[in-house]
Subunit: 341 residues, 2 copies
Amino acid sequence: MKIILVGFGAIGKGVAKVLHEKRDYLKKNYGDFKVVAITDSSGSAIDENGLDLIKAIEVKETTGSIKNYPEKGSKMKSIDVIREVKADVVVEITPSNLETGEPAKTHILESFRNKKHVVTANKGPLALCYKELVEEAKKHGVMFRHEASVGGAMPIINLAKETLAGNEILSIRGILNGTTNYILTKMEKEGLDFETALKEAKELGIAETDPTQDIEGLDTAAKIVILANSIMGLEKTIKDVKVKGITKITPEALFLANKRGYTIKLIGQIKENHLIVEPMLVPIDSPLNVKGTLNVAMFETDLAREVVVVGRGAGPIETASAILSDLIHIYTTINTKQKIK
Amino acid sequence: MKIILVGFGAIGKGVAKVLHEKRDYLKKNYGDFKVVAITDSSGSAIDENGLDLIKAIEVKETTGSIKNYPEKGSKMKSIDVIREVKADVVVEITPSNLETGEPAKTHILESFRNKKHVVTANKGPLALCYKELVEEAKKHGVMFRHEASVGGAMPIINLAKETLAGNEILSIRGILNGTTNYILTKMEKEGLDFETALKEAKELGIAETDPTQDIEGLDTAAKIVILANSIMGLEKTIKDVKVKGITKITPEALFLANKRGYTIKLIGQIKENHLIVEPMLVPIDSPLNVKGTLNVAMFETDLAREVVVVGRGAGPIETASAILSDLIHIYTTINTKQKIK
């Protein structure tokens, strides 16, 4: 299976690393997963026989641009690579933009038009125009998968749609942002105030330099929009979410909650067509009370009743794990079809 | 898709109920799921146009035997129904026998030989001769799925093999028996001794009249054998498991564990090729510390790191949920193939 990686930041490099390390395992259990092109905002590297992924990571880390890949590097843009390079799947992993969804939206639509399946971790286009993307994919007869867009390595979208197939998902509640969970856990355990806990999270690289989207709840809001649309068949955008962040939470509030058998978590919730993100009281012995940077989601379903899943919501290798599972699904589906031809 | 239900006890009736209630939903989203035969130890009912599932449940509940189904009922045996009735899938849900695996083993093998896919919840044959079953299925080109055999509605086997595809599963630890978890939770919360908690569990129908397999850890042992073989590719049987039950646990032991920040759970564990079932100390804030009849499993993986899943381990509708997801997977796979033909 031939793959194009569009975007070569931390996650792109994580995917390259995993595909390199798992090459023999994949060959033995599935087939050959070959990266025939990698692009970033500066240009690209293309080799239809498969790029050397370790060399690609090295070039990116030492020169800052994949276009410097020896002999096979060029200034060719992502969109042209998507159009012109022969491949089965495009992995779209440029940075998420929650206002415009670009450049990911254009990349994804262009991939569909060129009969390429798409795997993405990109929240932007999914939170802004999910329906349009799904319809375009259908129109062109290609697959569109995005397990990595919510909860990183924590199984959630494919879990609900495939492992729990046949169940109606009645509600979803969860902690979908590791940064805010880390901050609240620190405040609770050490009595720190919000600013101090945030500062520490920044120093550890858990919070970004500009943590607004996380602490104001926008990141969680984008994620529950994706879950509402992809799992529950709703047609929501980020504007439909009532959002409140964690900046007003005090260590005193956490202390008082604890005294009554509760903790406070930033919960994203989809229930009866309403999407809410806000700090909520959670019983201390609830499975939703997970600590540190962990993510958690609780599904309420008609047959299986409550199902809870806990996992790592971020990190390049963890995100690559979800992308890899989507790539394997696409490979297996294509292969099931080809066996019959 | 034509289905034969072999076994019509609580789980069989649960499957029939779910297939009846979900009929329109399945038709709309997938296709027609028709039960063309139901068998129990007394006989069978056969209708190639699809049985009336509500009538089948009523007949079974009022007369005790499916052979009394009006006009379509007969003394025809399960094995002959498997051989002679035209169908795509056999759902094997006779009672589990952990010593011989029968009659499920014979039913499953005969289904394979007759080119019928199999979905089962039956632990017996899986814990005793997994490899033989998988090889027979492969030989005859049919699918063999058994999500319901471990953890009821809790996603576990398909989660590890499909949702986490590409990950190496390094270890599995979990609470895979709801009865023992209920007893230990009661003892911990109310200071009851083992016998009193067991008595209460029996009165509530949570423990069986003969609870030996649960409280001695054999049920958990069978389940970790299934997980070791199906998820981790090992070749274990129930004889390879070091097993210790919960009958010696006292409320004092739980009290002391609590005082030090721990609880005691009956844990099934697969790690470095060793299978163990025994009461273990679990930190109070560990995701493994789930209460009541809940089941939980923690996977340690190479890419996604730790993933935890919590769900309902038993109950006819919950088990039917897992069976339904397997049926949908088979339907989708057959259908992907047929689209190309």
